[in-house]
Amino acid sequence: MERAKCLELIYPEIEDKLVVTIMGACAQELYDLGHRESFFYLQHAMGLASSIGLGLARHLPHEKVIVLDGDGSALMNLGTFATLARYRPSNLVHIIFDNGSLLSTGGFDSHTTAGITDLAAIARGAGIEHAVSVTETMGFGEAFVEAMERADLSVIVAHVDAVGPDIYGMDFALPENAFRFKRCVQERRAATGWKPPPRPGSVGSA
């Protein structure tokens, strides 16, 4: 199973959702399917995609938040599973593409390569009830549909090949992605009737 194929499969469902993806190959594969203002690409800080997802999901109950993670990134922040289990955001779907590789940094084996470390079991052990492992594209699709329909925190560990795109590049700078993503999130929140708190400098004189 290839991650790019999995992303292609779910793209019609996630293109209007808030999506936080890890760096490199995964980010590029999502971008290549078509950038949306509701996509945030975490290009360097390993492990924090799910933490950003928690911060979003917790404050935006009307949204479904999708996190696209990797085995190497998830292994850098195993505590996140316990934090997610504790707060159990019902609107968060945490997908971990386990390619057994640190692909985006040259393809070194990760701890999951030999199949010894089971990230779904770690998630379950941390207290996440709905954490499944899938190895076939069909199974991935089914797990994804269930996760989207379920009003509960879901973790999907998708075992994929260690392959990525040939060409890398995006047509915006990193802060620009953050600015546009924030604007998008806030406009969607405002559409629910929510009013943003006043910005610094918006009252009084400069």
Binding site: A45, G47, S51, G55, N77, T83, F179, P197, P200
Partner: protein, 169 residues
Amino acid sequence: MTVSYDNSKAVFEGIKAAGITSISALPETWLGLLLQRAEDDPDVDLIQVAKEEEAIGVAAGAYFAGEPHVLLMQNHGFFGAMNGIISLAQLYSIPLCMLIAVRGHWGEPYPWHTRGGIVTEGLLRALNIPYEHARDPEAVAKQIAEAYTFSRSSLSPVALLLTRDLMED
């Protein structure tokens, strides 16, 4: 040593007065009474993390969502959060308003805190993180509001250092 009940209250009231509705934290002695108040307050959402670096992600999510947020941690947690601060907050121009309990400085009786206390300000300077010391319970509410305002206008991490003078009786 006892943690100051009155000054913990002053800090919490300062956080509330600054319009903060969301807090991420990892508990430690000086923050205990403060976090108890946050937990008991229905208007404040407290998210306790397993490691401080997670809170950088949570804070970024809260910022994107438009929710006024502060982070509470001790200085050793700031050390453990550093890559998140640099490679998420600073790289993407995401504000962080960090209230950091500075253990291991003037008057510190516990040896295990001291190395961290000694290097804290040097590390803040190395990261270009603006900081102020909070020592006076009368001034702390204003300092919190100013720290939050500055983090938002500069789109960068800022730190208000909670000192022994403030946090202990």
